[in-house]
Amino acid sequence: MPQLNELTEAIKSGNRSNATRLTTEFLDNETAPQEILDAMVVGMDEIGERFKRNEVFVPEMLIAARAMKESMAILEPALVKSGYKPLATAVIGTVQGDLHDIGKNLVSMMWKGASFNVVDLGVNVSPEAFVSAIKEHNATLVGLSALLTTTMPSMKATMDAIRQEQLEGVKVLIGGAPVTQSYADQIGADGFAADAASAVDAARKLLAC
């Protein structure tokens, strides 16, 4: 019988055939779905940490996230059956006027990997679209991304729109190349993350989960 750390390794190295095979084997052997999920999350956390330390790059992150996604597809029915609920629902997008999506995609994948239910609104998302998606999906976490200095004002407009709605318990995290903690403070965001792995830490901290 395989060990759970083998699944962690398969996720980390982005080996999707091993990851999906192991997930199926664990389910067949009646390993608790939550334990299988935990092994995957450790893999994503570890690759995220290595990304943060500049030891791996975008391709390695993407193939790890893909291995996670494909394994999750196998695991999900059993997880749901066992009464599992995602930590929270998150809405994410690149703000209006900005069409860059690599950073936003990485955060989205990392959040999914960390057991958040993620609604990805894509790029060039208007403040109104953010607000209506938050309401529609009862999201408690929002991620705003921007790559250009010229689109940073859109983040503020989005923040203002969200705050105006006075949505209970909604936490907003911002990120992207030109964004800083002081900008987050300035526009009243709840947090800032410098990279995709930090976005997971920050989200867990903000939602205390």
Binding site: V58, L62, H100, S182
Partner: protein
């Protein structure tokens, strides 16, 4: 000696009396003539006007004709979205299966330098060559093969590097062919240097760079050399991990962005027989700082780089709104030795003074964590101001039982210089925590400072308990 001769000497790795000066005037040229980036990049006459103005104001030794890494992609069928103050963005990736139509190379429009906006760039080059071609070196910038591959394939490329590497190699080779055609045309129209600008390579590992990028860019650099041109490998962004492999390509020059210490690229490039360029800070200094910040940053770059094989340039494309007076200040430092001396003296550390009378506290026995912020002067230098504020913000976030003393040491005073020397601070502004230099030059996230302060507080408790 003309500026052009000086720049070409530096490019060839020779010693120069002053650094060659190459401001990357891209869409910033549009701001100089009061038009939008879109109007500018679509008009040869406006580009000529912008560059003429830049020459008059900034006294450069070299100028790029156009800084727009979307020109090749546009000809190959990528859709663009235009903006007022930035070059256009690519919004469709025709070869992507995830985000586009999944086209093959054969389905793309045939590439030609007679298409798209290339004729505009060449017309501008012809005019500029006539006007100032004897005085300054002209750069033809082209899209590096990896960045163009990403434009065509979208994010698929990252996974395809693992799944179907041969498909990525084929597209990279095609993009190298495109680059050779663009280089040919630039050289025929009189460009002195061709810069292969490949910023997306900062997102991949050295192993992937060697596997995918090196063969493609070497093809381009060999081609440029055969045509009698000079080639520069230029990567905007944090390419720290790829500096070795970038330097090993067949380029004549390596140009880097502000995240990388110039000493590092100098020590790699010169032994490899290559020159190097960079890396004035675009945001904290040229955009947000003032003329004094620009002067200090220029001196810091010059001192770090030395006088051999060095071309002073911003880390990347100058933003539209960069302050012209800051670039004028850089030009002043480059051309006026006296001004350079004044600026240097203002920040200079006395070489003979050992500062025996400047004493550091015994940090370990102090009850509180001591944060020493070493600055030029937080009131007169924008990065210093942000660094000092970052320390204050960090303290404000701590629980009240964690006592922190923050002290600023301005090196405009002898005491301040003494603290800088005693603390072993390499760059300004810097933050030292309990005598250890933790953050130099780059302003950290407040949370990271908090973390370091907490660590220091904890080790104090362990010693005392």
């Amino acid at each position: 000696m003309t500026g052009k001769e000086l720049l070409l000497r530096a490019l060839n790795g020779e010693q120069t009396l002053r650094p060659a000066w190459l401001p990357y005037v891209g869409v910033h040229g549009a701001s100089l003539v009061g038009v939008t980036a879109e109007e500018y990049l679509k008009s040869a006459n406006l580009i000529v006007d912008g560059l003429s103005k830049a020459k008059e104001l900034y006294q450069p030794d070299g100028l790029p004709i156009v800084f727009d890494l979307q020109m090749e992609a546009q000809v190959l069928g990528c859709e663009l979205k235009w903006a007022e103050k930035t070059p256009p963005s690519v919004v469709s990736h025709p070869m992507s299966l995830m985000e586009g139509d999944g086209k093959s190379l054969a389905d793309l429009p045939a590439f030609s330098v007679d298409k798209g906006r290339f004729p505009i760039a060449f017309e501008a080059l012809d005019q500029i060559k006539k006007q100032m071609g004897d005085e300054i070196a002209l750069y033809g910038l082209l899209t590096g093969p990896f960045t163009l591959t990403l434009h065509l394939m979208g994010n698929d490329v990252f996974m395809n590097m693992y799944d179907t590497p041969e498909s990525v190699m084929t597209v990279m080779d095609f993009c190298a062919e495109v680059a050779c055609q663009v280089a040919d045309a630039y050289i025929e129209h009189g460009a002195d240097v061709i810069a292969v600008v490949d910023p997306m390579t900062s997102q991949i590992s050295p192993e992937h760079f060697t596997e995918f990028v090196t063969p493609a860019v070497n093809k381009v650099f060999d081609h440029i050399r055969n045509k009698g041109g000079k080639g520069s490998m230029f990567v905007c962004g944090d390419a720290t991990r790829n500096l070795d492999v970038m330097t090993e390509t067949h380029c004549d020059n390596v140009a880097i962005d502000e995240q990388i210490p110039l000493e590092k690229i100098r020590d790699l490039a010169l032994p490899a027989g290559k020159s190097f360029g960079g890396n004035l800070k675009l945001t904290t200094v040229l955009m947000m700082g003032d003329e004094n910040d620009a002067r200090r940053n220029t001196i810091a770059c010059m001192d770090a780089a030395g006088d051999t094989g060095f071309i002073l340039a911003p880390g990347c494309d100058l933003p539209y709104d960069v302050k012209p007076e800051n670039l004028v200040a850089v030009a002043q430092m480059v051309h006026d030795e006296y001004q350079r001396d004044i600026a240097r003296t203002a920040a200079n550390v006395s070489q003979t003074d050992t500062f025996d009378d400047v004493l550091l506290p015994d940090y370990a026995s102090e009850r509180d964590v001591i944060v020493d912020v070493v600055t030029l002067d937080s009131e007169g230098c924008a990065p210093c101001q942000y660094m000092f504020k970052a320390a204050l913000d960090a303290r404000a976030r701590l629980e009240s039982d964690c006592k922190v003393i923050i002290r600023e040491h301005k090196i405009t005073t002898r005491q301040g210089v003494g603290m800088m020397v005693k603390l072993g601070v390499p760059n300004l502004p810097s933050i030292c925590i309990d005598g250890q230099c933790k953050f130099a030059s780059i302003i950290p996230d407040t949370a990271v400072i908090v973390e370091e302060i907490l660590k220091a507080a904890q080790s104090k408790q362990e010693v005392t308990s």
